[in-house]
Structures are given as structure tokens and as C-alpha cells.
């Protein structure tokens, strides 16, 4: 207990130190070291703290009456500690990466401010997770949103970055409003801001209140998590922010939204939900499926690396939500074991996504660092110039595509098994709806693999598509080290899934399941036969022995052969160049055509002729393929334009005459007094 507290104290002090050091070091040569090394150490201590908390007792700490009647409470149970672990692992790697990465900004920007904001951002996320009081939760939540907003517009010379920052700010305030509403409902019921009180008295909440609290929390936290249709800030903010910030936002910050949902659900009943609440789960499954499929469809047609990764975050949030929703459905029908399975699947995907998305954003950041472009149409051939970045990015790509033996496969396997277990649900309609959720889920997995083939293949493989790529160099070692940490975790969590699963088991108190990391995952069916087995260590051994066997076989049979290097087959026309390669847009063209109802692609063709109108001699031909963002055009634009319309009307109140304003004051006072009078009568 004592060590716990001191660990946390050390971490917090270090975060603050890092931020202040950054602020005061004033762009000296050591700013990067001074700001990011404390962050690293602090993250390391947080990792220790969370691991100790998960394996040991929950950590509870109160400073009474910080504000009148409001205690400052810190409470870290297994759930909070698990999310702390997610935050701190990623922030450790990202701060290591940032030491090298921020060099790019040193000449143009003030890195000291960045270091300050960066540290405060991580600290605020940690404090959000461990604060046990809705009042302080909201304060830290706002702090997190504001610091991340400033980090998004850090590169504010470009107007588009400021614009996307504003979108982000508006959406995040929209979400906070709903969270506030949900907390206020809890306050009305209990008269307290403490989560403990919410938790203990939630069983006596009326049915409607419970539903409303859930719905508001879902919308509020969902906005932060980036569910569709509240996602529009996400691709913009993630693209505009510096890549290390995008890595933190995408890998960690949107998970805080998930944490909020988990916390709400557990506070409102956890595993003891009644069947009346299965619609919560169903709502989450539906929203999750929609987010997954639409997110991945937008990711696959994107040719901006970071935008594609951002859309893929929406997709993965969708997959996490499917698992969480399944867990709620099972919990509400009193299928505790299945609920635990679905929860493990969803939380495993949470940590996996944090790890590989952090890795991928850092990889994209390295590409931007080296080439100064995010547009895949200008990249290509990077694998020869940046072999390490390419390898690490490939590991991330394989993991996120859900391929064995990497970690994405395990969590998607678990989610699939949770979907399959829907046969134990007693209601037929629920069964079929859950079963049909596997269609978008499977389509998502398929298209996600295609997305990452495109991302990796177009930017890293084949021939460079622009000239300046010839001059680029591999990124600094600290960046590679930062990425390697997460890549190693990707492999570790893939090959030894029980590392993660036992962690989750103890964190969420699911099953007394002391498993060694080398165990096989075993699920049983009704007749106690094996429903499914998966033992990744064995699979890896099989894969490697097969590799050794076939290598030996080929060597023995084939004997010694020569390898000749020659140019690629060009059908005898000679000299292929980069203009004949497949582009990012053409690579995803079939998928774009199949789903044309969603994308509404159309080609703008501009022709220029020799001699004016002679339509036979073409001088130049320019084809531009445009896809629409239907959410922005069909949902947000009407809302925005109607708002502007209404505000125009309201502006007429503002006449500019002092008498009119006085009249408004008078009317307000009279109405208020009337209201007070009337309400007292009743």
C-alpha cells in the first residue's frame, strides 16, 4: 500500500517535473532530453504501479474536503489499473520516440511548450482514470481535452490544422456535455459526486434513470472514443497533430472513452444486469458494427497515411464495442462465463489496439519525419531506405490485420468465439441479431487486411514515386527504439496470449484462473466437448519447425542454384518507371466500386486540346477521382446550416438599442420572480 502510493507520487512528481523542465529550459539543446526522459521514467513507475495494483489489492486514497464537501479521492481497482497500464506502456514508448521525433520541430517551433503540454496530457489521462469522484473526473477530463486540443493545433501555421482543432474542440465539448448530464442524473439520485456512492446505490435507481445514465454516458464517452456518427473530429485531429501526439490520442486517449463506458456499466450493475438491459448491449453491438465497417471502408480508400490510420482507429473501436456489447448482452441474461469471455475479448483488443496503433502511428510519423509527406501517392520504396521502420511498421500492420501469430489475431479470435457463443442466448431474435453481427465483423477483418496491404505495400514497397525519396535516411535510433518496444509487445501478446488474458482475469476479477503463459485457450460446448482450442506457442513451434523442414527439403533436393538479379518483366517494352506502377487509389478501386453507394465516387475529367476545340488532338488529360464523405455532407452540414439559420434569427434580438437590452433584463427578472413564486406555491 505504502509503496503503491509512493510509486504514484513519484510518477506524478516526475510528470510535473518534466513539464516544468520543458517550460523553463527555453529551447536549449537539451530540451528534448529534459522533457521526455522524466516522462519515460514516470511512465515506467506507472507501469509498476498498475501491475502491483492489478496483482494486489485495490488502491484507495482520499484527501478530504479539498473543496467544500468534495473529497479528492483516488481509487485504482483492477479496471482502472488495467487502463493505467495501457496508458503507461504506450506513453513510455511514445516518449522515447519523441526524443528523436521532436528534432524535426526544433528549428520551426518551440519544443518547450510541446514538452509541457505533452507531460500534462499524459498526467491528465492518468488522473482521469484513477479519480473516484465525478467532479474531479470532469476537471481532469477537460484538462485532457484541452491539452490534446493544444497539441493538435501545435502545428498551427497551417490553417487546416487549426480548423480540425476547432472541430475537435466542439465535438469534445459536445461529448462532455452528455457526460455531465449523466453524472448529474447520478447526483440527483444520490446527492453525491462520488463514484463509490453511485456504485453502491445504483441498484435502487429507477429503471428509466439507469437507462438515461447509460445512454448519456454512451453518447458522451462514445464521442471521445470516436463511434460513428460522432467520429468526424477523429480523422481530422489525428491527421493534424504531430505523429507522437496522434499515437497517444489514437492508442490511448480514445480508450479513455472505452474506460468511461466500462466504468459506467460496472457502476450500474456490472454482471448483475437483468434482461431488461440487453438493449444496451444490442445498441453497442449495432453501433460497434457500423463503426467498424464504415471506419474500415473509409480507411481503405484513403491515400493519406495518417488519415487511413485514424479511420482504422474508428474500426477498432467498433470491434472493441462489439465485444463489450456482447459482454453486456450475456451479463444481462445471466450468462456470466460468456460475459467474461466477451469482456476479455474486448479488453484484450483494447490493449492490443493501443499497442499496434501506437506503433503504426509512430511508424507513419517516422515516414513523415524522413519524407515530409503523408501522401502515399508520393512514397514508395522506403523499405530500402528505412529498413527498420519498414520492419516495425510491417509488424504493426500484420498485428492489426488479425493474422496469426500476432496479437491482433488473438483478440479477434476471442471476439469471434464470443459471437459464436451467442447460441446460448435464450431469445431467438437476440441470437439471430448477434449472429448477423458477425457479417460486418468478418467484412471488417477482411477489408482491414486489405487496408494494411495497401498502406504498407504502397508506401514501403516497389519503386519510389517521387524523386526526393532517393535522398532520405533512416530515422534516429531513439525513434526506432520507441517503436521496437511496442512491436515486441505485439509479438509477445500474440505468441503468449495468456500473459494478457491472466492479466485481464485478475484485473477484472473474472475467474480464478491461474494459468501459465504457455497454456492453451480452451472453450467447451454444452456436451463438455472441446468447442475451440488455441495454443499459440504450439502453433509457433509448428510454424518454425515446418519452416526448418521445408528449408532443408529444398536445399537437399534443389542443391546449389544461382540467383540472378534482373529488371522486372516489362512485356518487352523496356524501362518501366514509377508512372507505370499501381497507385494507392487504383489499388483500392475495386473495393471503392463495390461499395459505391457509400463512397459515391465520381471522376472529374479535365481535357485540354491542341488548337482550341479540336477534339481529336488531346494535349493534356487530368482525371481526379473524388469520393464523398456522406456523414459530413448528409448529417453535419444540414445541422450546421440550420444552426446558422437559427442564430441569424436570434441575432435580430441584438438591436443595438439600449432600451431593448433593458427590456430583456426586465422580462428575465419578471419571469424568474414569477417562476420562483409559482414553484413555491406548488
Amino acid at each position: 500500500m505504502i509503496e503503491n502510493l509512493s510509486l504514484l507520487q513519484i510518477a506524478i512528481v516526475l510528470f510535473v517535473t518534466g513539464s516544468l523542465l520543458g517550460l523553463f529550459s527555453r529551447n536549449s539543446k537539451f530540451t528534448r532530453m529534459l522533457t521526455f526522459v522524466p516522462t519515460m521514467i514516470a511512465s515506467f513507475f506507472t507501469v509498476l504501479f498498475s501491475v502491483i495494483t492489478i496483482t494486489g489489492k485495490p488502491f484507495h486514497f482520499i484527501i478530504p474536503n479539498v473543496l467544500p464537501f468534495i473529497n479528492f479521492e483516488i481509487f485504482a481497482d483492477g479496471i482502472a489499473a488495467f487502463f493505467l497500464l495501457v496508458i503507461s506502456i504506450v506513453s513510455f514508448a511514445v516518449s522515447l520516440y519523441s526524443i528523436g521525433y521532436m528534432k524535426e520541430y526544433e528549428t520551426t517551433k518551440r519544443t518547450s511548450v510541446f514538452g509541457f503540454l505533452f507531460n500534462i496530457f499524459i498526467l491528465s489521462m492518468i488522473l482521469v482514470v484513477i479519480s473516484n469522484n465525478s467532479f474531479f473526473f470532469l476537471i481532469f477530463w477537460e484538462l485532457m481535452s484541452l491539452t490534446s486540443f493544444f497539441l493538435v493545433i501545435y502545428d498551427h501555421d497551417r490553417e487546416e490544422n487549426v480548423k480540425s482543432g476547432m472541430t475537435y474542440l466542439i465535438m469534445t465539448q459536445f461529448g462532455t456535455a452528455f457526460i455531465l448530464a449523466s453524472f448529474l442524473l447520478g447526483y440527483i439520485q444520490t446527492g453525491s459526486f462520488s463514484f463509490d456512492v453511485f456504485h453502491n446505490s445504483s441498484s435502487s435507481f429507477p429503471f428509466l434513470t439507469k437507462n438515461l445514465i447509460f445512454l448519456f454516458a454512451f453518447i458522451g464517452f462514445g464521442t471521445k472514443a470516436g463511434i460513428i456518427p460522432l467520429h468526424i473530429w477523429l480523422p481530422k485531429a489525428h491527421t493534424s497533430a504531430p505523429s507522437n501526439v496522434s499515437a497517444l490520442m489514437s492508442a490511448v486517449m480514445i480508450k479513455i472513452g472505452i474506460y468511461g463506458m466500462v466504468r459506467t456499466i460496472f457502476d450500474l450493475g456490472g454482471f448483475g444486469l437483468s434482461p431488461d438491459y440487453s438493449w444496451w448491449g444490442l445498441l453497442m453491438i449495432v453501433v460497434g458494427s457500423v463503426s467498424a465497417i464504415i471506419g474500415v471502408l473509409y480507411a481503405v480508400i484513403e491515400h493519406d497515411m495518417k488519415r487511413a490510420l485514424a479511420f482504422s482507429s474508428i474500426e477498432n473501436i467498433g470491434i472493441i464495442l462489439i465485444g463489450l456489447g456482447l459482454s453486456v448482452v450475456f451479463a444481462s441474461l445471466n450468462l456470466t462465463i460468456l460475459s467474461a469471455l466477451a469482456l476479455v475479448a474486448s479488453m484484450y483488443h483494447t490493449i492490443n489496439h493501443a499497442v499496434f496503433k501506437g506503433l503504426l502511428f509512430m511508424g507513419a510519423g517516422s515516414v513523415v519525419y524522413a519524407t515530409h509527406t503523408r501522401n502515399m501517392e508520393h512514397l514508395g520504396g522506403l523499405i530500402k531506405k528505412m529498413p527498420w521502420t519498414a520492419l516495425l511498421f510491417l509488424i504493426g500492420a500484420i498485428s492489426i490485420s488479425g493474422l496469426p501469430p500476432f496479437n491482433g489475431f488473438i483478440s479477434e479470435w476471442l471476439t469471434m468465439q464470443a459471437l459464436l457463443s451467442s447460441y446460448q442466448i435464450p431469445s431467438t431474435i437476440l441470437q439471430i441479431s448477434v449472429a448477423f453481427a458477425s457479417i460486418p465483423f468478418a467484412l471488417t477483418i477482411g477489408i482491414a487486411a486489405a487496408t494494411f496491404v495497401k498502406l504498407f505495400g504502397i508506401s514501403f514497397l516497389s519503386r519510389p514515386r517521387s524523386e526526393h525519396i532517393a535522398k532520405i535516411k533512416e530515422v534516429p535510433r531513439s525513434m526506432i527504439a520507441g517503436m521496437s518496444i511496442l512491436a515486441a509487445i505485439c509479438i509477445l501478446f500474440g505468441v503468449l496470449p495468456f500473459l494478457g488474458i491472466s492479466l485481464l482475469d485478475t484485473a477484472f476479477h473474472l475467474l480464478p484462473h491461474p494459468a501459465s503463459p504457455f497454456d492453451a485457450i480452451t472453450l467447451q460446448n454444452n456436451s463438455a466437448k472441446s468447442f475451440a482450442n488455441l495454443s499459440m506457442p504450439v502453433v509457433v513451434i509448428m510454424l518454425s519447425s515446418m519452416a526448418a523442414a521445408i528449408f532443408g527439403f529444398i536445399k537437399v533436393i534443389g542443391g546449389k542454384t544461382r540467383k540472378t538479379t534482373f529488371s522486372t518483366w516489362d512485356c518487352g517494352f523496356g524501362s518501366l518507371d514509377q508512372r507505370m506502377e499501381y497507385t494507392a487509389t487504383s489499388l483500392s478501386q475495386p473495393i471503392r466500386t463495390v461499395f459505391k453507394t457509400l463512397f459515391r465516387p465520381h471522376n472529374k475529367i479535365q481535357k485540354e486540346f491542341f488548337g482550341g476545340t479540336d477534339s481529336y488532338l488531346l494535349k493534356t488529360l487530368k482525371v481526379e477521382s473524388v469520393t464523398k464523405n456522406i456523414f459530413e455532407e448528409n448529417l453535419y452540414l444540414p445541422i450546421i446550416s440550420s444552426c446558422i439559420y437559427i442564430f441569424d434569427k436570434i441575432r435580430k434580438l441584438q438591436t443595438g438599442k439600449i432600451n431593448a437590452y433593458l427590456l430583456y433584463i426586465m422580462i428575465t427578472v419578471v419571469l424568474l420572480l414569477l417562476f420562483v413564486r409559482l414553484s413555491h406555491n406548488v
Binding site: 530500402k384 490485420s401 493474422l403 496469426p404 479470435w413 468465439q417 459471437l419 459464436l420 447460441y423 431467438t428 439471430i432 448477423f436 458477425s438 468478418a442 467484412l443 477483418i445 477482411g446 477489408i447 487486411a449 486489405a450 496491404v453 495497401k454 505495400g457 514497397l461 516497389s462 519503386r463 492453451a520 460446448n525 466437448k529 472441446s530 468447442f531 475451440a532 482450442n533 488455441l534 495454443s535 502453433v539 509448428m542 510454424l543 515446418m546 519452416a547 521445408i550 529444398i554 533436393i557 534443389g558 542454384t561 540467383k563 540472378t564 538479379t565 534482373f566 522486372t568 518483366w569 516489362d570 518501366l576 506502377e581 499501381y582 489499388l587 483500392s588 475495386p590 473495393i591 463495390v594
Partner: protein, 313 residues
């Protein structure tokens, strides 16, 4: 948990798929030749091809990176490992404890992922074109495949292949109408996954029509041998799955020489028959236009959706 004999038979089952797979390809090629009124090469031709190719020198594109070089190996290793999870002529495989049907699908996806990357790696338009088409096929086939797995897994109580095949062997006739729909979907999936007509023509080298061939166009020598062999293994795995899930007759459920023998012979007969049917079908239909393929895939999805509904009601 399993005796030495069982583990041995498990290994033999895996090796049987790896070693017999070129034979199935040979049978299909022969059938196609005969339906086209040609004599055709012997059914052992794929073996000769593979051995010949292994001994040949290689030409590698100067644009390619290590992805291009490891792709055939990853292809072969992934697919050959997948072969060990398939119960072939015995209703269970001891490797069922290590992985299930979803893992097999995952290993297929791993192989395909690298093939698509290798197609992009050589910087020719052909490779990109093949990868681009394969991206669409694989993405769209996934839901059909998962739904079919869903039906089969729920009907027979597990995604563990040993559980499935054992339950199939114990079941009478065809008591489950959903399996008819699953079988239709599965047949379309097999055609798509292995790149047969009308999805893709394995015999063509015309840029308008090729998909898989376009991705592996640059390969030669050992690498080509590995690619061809792993394609054959994939075909054999899928055919064995179809046969063992939808037509389990003759499979052995105990380890005696007689039943194992019957199991082996009936399996080879059934797979060959299926291969002949597919090859015959290929000779009678033309390749479809690329954007009509999704129609066919949606038939598979719709079929498995109906199967799902039938299962639950």
C-alpha cells in the same frame, strides 16, 4: 492426452495433405484437358514440375526487397502448418488441441497477405493489378466464410475441427437443412479462395483476366515451386474440409488398420471426385466480369444467412 500412435497418425494426416496435394491438381488438369478433347499431361505432372522448378536457377527483380524473397516461404509454411489441423481420414487430429478452424482461416489470410505484398513489391503493374483484385475478393469472401463457419460450428458444437468432424461422422444422413445452404456457400468460397473459374483462371496469363497469377508473375525457380505447391495444399485443405464436413462417409473413427485404410481410400476417392467435378465445371463456364463476382459472393453470403436463420428457428 493422446497416444503415440494417434500423434503419429496426426502427423501422417498433415504430411498426406502436403504430399498428395499436387496429385489433386494433376487430376484437375487432366480432367480439364479431357473435357477440352486433349490428351493432357499425366496426373503426376505437378510433381515433376515442382521438382524441376526446385532445381532451377532463379531470376529476381532488381526492384524487389526481402518481402518478395520471404513470401513463398511464408506461404508454404503457413499453408503446410494449416494442413496439420485438418482431420483427414481419422475423425480427429491431435493438433486440434493447438488450433481450430479459425486458426486455419487465419493462416490462409497470413499467406494471402504476403502474396499481395509480394505482388506490389516488384513494381510492375501486373502485380498491383493482381493484388488489387485479390484485395476485393478476399475482403468480400470473408463474411461468407465466417458465416459458413458459424453454421457448421453451431451445428456440430465447436470450431475445433476434431469436434466437428467427429460429430459429422456420428450424425445420420442430413438432418440439418442449414447445412445445405452452408454447403452451397462453402462451394462458392472454395472456388473463390483457390482462384478457380469464374473467379480467376489459374491457366491464364492474360492481364485482363489473371488475379493470382498476376501477383506471382515475377517468381521463378524454387520460389515458384513453393508458391505452386502451397496453392495445391490450399486447394487440398479446402476440398478435404468440404468432404469431411458435408460428406463424411467412410471416415475412420478408430485406429485400426482396416478402418484407416477404408478411410484413406474413400477420402482420396471423394476428393478426386470433387476435384473432377470442379474441373468439369471450369471447362463449361467462362470467367465472369470482375464486377459481377461480388454478385456470386453475395449469393454465398445470402445462402449462409438463410442457413443461419434455419439453424436458429
Amino acid at each position: 492426452m493422446y497416444s503415440i500412435a494417434e500423434i503419429l497418425i496426426g502427423v501422417i494426416q498433415g504430411l498426406a495433405i502436403i504430399l498428395l496435394s499436387p496429385l489433386i491438381t494433376g487430376i484437375m488438369q487432366k480432367t480439364k484437358a479431357r473435357t477440352q478433347k486433349r490428351i493432357g499431361a499425366t496426373i503426376l505432372q505437378p510433381y515433376y514440375d515442382i521438382i524441376k522448378l526446385i532445381k532451377k536457377d532463379e531470376v529476381v527483380s532488381d526492384q524487389s526487397s526481402w518481402i518478395f524473397k520471404v513470401c513463398p516461404w511464408i506461404n508454404f509454411v503457413a499453408l503446410a502448418t494449416a494442413a496439420f489441423f485438418i482431420p483427414l481420414f481419422l475423425t480427429y487430429s491431435p493438433f486440434g488441441l493447438a488450433g481450430d478452424l479459425l486458426l486455419v482461416v487465419g493462416l490462409f489470410a497470413l499467406a494471402r497477405f504476403f502474396t499481395m505484398l509480394a505482388g506490389l513489391d516488384v513494381a510492375s503493374s501486373f502485380g498491383g493489378l493482381g493484388s488489387s483484385r485479390e484485395m476485393m475478393f478476399s475482403a468480400l469472401l470473408e463474411p461468407a466464410l465466417f458465416l459458413t463457419i458459424f453454421i457448421v460450428a453451431l451445428t456440430y458444437g465447436g470450431t475445433n475441427l476434431s469436434t466437428i468432424v467427429a460429430a459429422v461422422a456420428g450424425a445420420t444422413l442430413l438432418p440439418h437443412p442449414q447445412l445445405i445452404f452452408a454447403a452451397i456457400a462453402m462451394f462458392i468460397i472454395v472456388l473463390g479462395e483457390t482462384g478457380r473459374l469464374p473467379f480467376d483462371n489459374p491457366a491464364t496469363h492474360l492481364e485482363l483476366t489473371m488475379v493470382h497469377e498476376a501477383m506471382v508473375l515475377e517468381y521463378s525457380g524454387k520460389s515458384l515451386a513453393l508458391i505452386e505447391w502451397s496453392q495445391a495444399i490450399k486447394l487440398m485443405i479446402l476440398l478435404a474440409l468440404v468432404v469431411n464436413i458435408f460428406a463424411p462417409w467412410g471416415i475412420s473413427s478408430s485406429i485400426t488398420v482396416a478402418t484407416l485404410g477404408i478411410g484413406f481410400i474413400s477420402l482420396v476417392a471423394k476428393i478426386s471426385l470433387l476435384a473432377v467435378i470442379i474441373a468439369y465445371l471450369e471447362s463449361t463456364i467462362a470467367k465472369w466480369r470482375l464486377f459481377r463476382i461480388p454478385d456470386l459472393i453475395t449469393i454465398a453470403i445470402a445462402s449462409s444467412m438463410i442457413g443461419m436463420v434455419l439453424y436458429y428457428l
